[in-house]
């Protein structure tokens, strides 16, 4: 007659080992999914960075004097002479 306590211990250990193995597999799977997601996010970030750079370049060009001045002149505007610039100095706010 086999010892029932022995069987119980073997079963407990078997379950324990299976649980540990399952836990390891789950962690590995999760890690790989996270790594994949991380890579996707990194790619996404890279795309946004490229978009940002392209937009910055476009904004810089659009607001550059080389682009604005000819457009302003075509609208009949011109750069004012220094005598046409009046600097208005607002008074300091009064204390209440």
């Amino acid at each position: 007659m086999a010892n029932p306590r022995g069987r119980l211990w073997v079963t407990v250990w078997l379950v324990f080992v299976l649980a540990v193995l399952a836990w390891v597999v789950a962690r590995q799977t999760s890690a790989h999914l996270t790594a994949r997601r991380l890579e996707e996010l990194r790619t996404e970030w890279s795309v946004y960075e490229a978009q940002r750079s392209a937009l910055i370049a476009r904004i810089r060009e659009a607001e550059s004097r080389a682009v604005l001045m000819p457009q302003a002149e075509s609208l009949g505007l011109r750069e004012p002479a220094d005598s046409e610039i009046v600097i208005l100095q607002a008074p300091a706010p009064r204390r209440r």
Partner: protein
């Protein structure tokens, strides 16, 4: 019966020995050679990779990006791995912008390579395509392609050393690369494994320069225009804040490859300021002292010195206004060589400024022991010394800053990747060069240069006074000075009172030669644009006290200005036409100024709010270009 038992025992022994052998071998493999086999297995399945750190960005003083880091890709294609050669060829052609025919030709080889580089946006549709392999790298990207490029330089690359700001600040910009071990499959594809990330990459610090992007654009364009207009070989421009020492803009162009920090030139008449500083500091010239300038030609121990504008008796201010070499040489003879040399040293000649830039030139200044009999006279006229444009700007900035020379800088701030400021520039005085009283006298001398008849009159503005000094010097070549070839320069302070900007304009061999006809007008054009632009470095509140007015009585009555200049306003009046002064009472100051400007008047604004009165009175006639004073009150402040 004994035999079967024996055989059974024999089998048992064999099994036991076999098992023990297996166990021993397992122990040997696992316990003693385990590490070696584990490494071999890992090498089969993993690869150690370096994770590049993002290089820090470079910004101007207002936070506009000048240099960013961008990830770009080169595209490799294995044609035999493609799902559909025809369809994938079209996609590659469309996304990479390469003609379909070219793509098809390249795909006939075993491996096709499209160098690009292509940014993430372009290669995004190609990700996941079988047979397409992306090879990424980080490169520098300049949103404003040409702005301050020579100053920014570039990071080190294969076979090419770093240069410019990228080189000086490399240790801060570079960051620290990380490392990771990634999994590799049989095909060689890599898979990230977060459990094996050894070290995160640490991005580099961001660097904020003192440059103002708008001002930089103005002077770069002005220099380009000047080089074209005057057919000059090259040129440099520097704009400095005299109080903080911050370099607000710096540009170089033309032939030679040097720039305002590395290229040297003889300063010519702009160096007369240094001899004058020594004369005034040691009280070797008085306000009533005059010298005979020989009507333009002077024989100094066999060396003939010429003045371009022959004059007679001139005091020190006259010598400056007409840039008389003879007058300055005669006055400088009152100085010993040591006194002259010490003053030049104090102004920083012959010494690098210490600005954050590689290979800055120190210029040339020989010690008195190496001077010949005519060196003192030459130095007083700005010959036999050589300076960079920045050295000249720094020296003049000391005069603008009441005699205190400041350390010039290009770096305003350094921020960590988290945005924390780890270094902020604080103004660093180098030394006091002259007393405040002498500095004030020198500024008065420079102011006279821009008055009518002065060599710098073409730099004058209408509403604000500019102080400055022209310099036209013959250019030196391998065989001595080149006939008919000059370097023209103009150093200015704006405004003349309480200067906020010090600017150097230097042109190499401009057609028209003289600084009066080349460098000085460029200065004026730049200052007009600076005034018309919302620039950060220009303190407009301080500028209002520097505005010149043609109505001294009115201004004195209101006590808003204590100093008046007779010159520039008079010239601005166009005596050819009259216009009726409109009634602008009841309008806001802005609206009134707009109406008056339309008719060609200049506007002097007093007070704040709604316009109460106008002088000359509405309905009166006034010369076009003359000043109309509008007085406003706060009773009904504008919304």
């Amino acid at each position: 019966m004994a035999r079967p038992f024996l055989r059974l025992q024999l089998v048992q022994v064999v099994f036991i020995v076999g098992f023990l052998g297996l166990l021993g071998r397992a122990a040997q493999v696992q316990l003693f050679q385990g590490a070696k086999h584990a490494a071999a297995a890992a090498a089969e399945r993993t690869e150690r990779v370096e994770l590049p750190a993002r290089r820090g960005s470079i910004f101007d003083r207002k936070g506009a990006a000048l240099a960013l880091t961008q990830e770009v890709f080169h595209v490799g294609v294995a044609p035999n791995e493609l799902d559909s050669l025809a369809a994938d060829s079209r996609i590659l052609s469309q996304e990479l912008g390469v003609p379909l025919r070219t793509v098809q030709q390249r795909l006939q080889a075993r491996w096709a390579y499209f160098a690009g580089p292509y940014n993430s946006l372009v290669v995004q549709p190609l990700r996941g395509m079988r047979g397409v392999h992306l090879d990424g790298e980080q490169v520098r990207f300049h949103p404003h392609s040409d702005l301050a490029r020579s100053l920014l330089g570039h990071p080190a690359a294969e076979g090419r050393p770093a240069s410019g700001i990228e080189r000086v600040m490399d240790t801060l910009l570079a960051g620290v690369p990380g490392t990771a071990v990634v999994l590799r499959d049989r095909r060689g594809n890599l898979y990230q494994s977060p459990a094996r990330l050894n070290a995160f990459p640490v991005p580099g610090h961001d660097v904020y320069l003192t440059l103002d992007g708008d001002l930089q654009e103005i002077i770069e364009q002005a220099l380009t225009d000047a080089l074209e207009q005057y057919e000059a070989e090259g040129g440099d421009m520097v704009v400095l804040d005299p109080v903080s020492g911050e370099i607000l803009a710096i540009a170089s162009g033309g032939e030679g490859g040097s720039n305002a920090l590395t290229g040297v030139f003889e300063p010519g008449s702009t160096a007369k300021l240094f001899a004058a500083a020594a004369l005034l500091t040691h009280r070797l010239v008085g306000s009533t002292d005059s010298v005979w300038t020989e009507e333009g030609e002077y024989d100094l121990d066999g060396r003939i010195i010429h003045d371009d504008h022959p004059e007679g008796w001139l005091d020190l201010s006259g010598v400056f206004q007409h840039s008389s070499n003879i007058g300055m040489v005669k006055l400088a003879l009152r100085l010993s060589a040591d006194l002259q040399y010490e003053m030049l040293r104090d102004f920083g000649l012959g010494t690098p400024t210490g600005v954050e830039y590689p290979s800055e030139s120190s210029g040339t200044l020989k010690p008195p022991s190496q001077w010949s009999g005519t060196t003192a006279a030459s130095v007083a006229m700005g010959y036999e010394v050589a300076v960079t444009a920045l050295q000249l700007a720094q020296a003049y900035a000391a005069i603008a800053n009441d005699g205190v020379m400041m350390q010039p800088t290009l770096i305003r701030e350094v921020r960590s990747p988290e945005g924390v400021v780890v270094r902020r520039h604080t103004p660093q005085p180098v030394r006091r060069v002259v007393s405040p009283a002498v500095a004030s006298e020198l500024r008065s001398l420079l102011r006279g240069v821009v008055y009518p008849g002065g060599t710098g009159e073409t730099a004058a503005l209408t509403s604000y006074e500019v102080a400055g000094k022209t310099g036209t010097v013959r250019r030196a070549g391998p065989g001595g000075y080149i006939r008919g070839s000059y370097t023209a320069s103009f150093v200015s302070m704006f405004p003349a009172d309480d200067p906020q900007l010090v600017m150097v304009v230097k042109l190499d061999d401009p057609q028209g030669n003289y600084a009066r006809l080349s460098a000085a007008p460029v200065t004026r054009r730049v200052l007009e644009q600076v005034l018309a632009t919302q620039l950060g470095p220009l303190d407009r509140a301080r500028l209002t006290t520097s505005q010149v007015t043609a109505e001294p009585q009115v201004v004195a009555e209101h006590g808003t200005a204590t100093w008046l200049s007779p010159f520039p306003v008079v010239q601005a009046v166009d005596s050819g036409g009259l216009e009726v002064v409109p009634d602008v009472t009841g309008l806001t100051l802005r609206g009134a100024a707009r109406e008056l400007h339309k008719l060609g008047f200049r506007v002097q604004a007093i007070g704040w709010g709604v316009v109460d009165s106008v002088a000359p009175a509405p309905g009166d006639s006034a010369a076009i270009g003359s000043v109309v004073t509008v007085t406003a009150s706060e009773r009904n402040p504008p919304r």
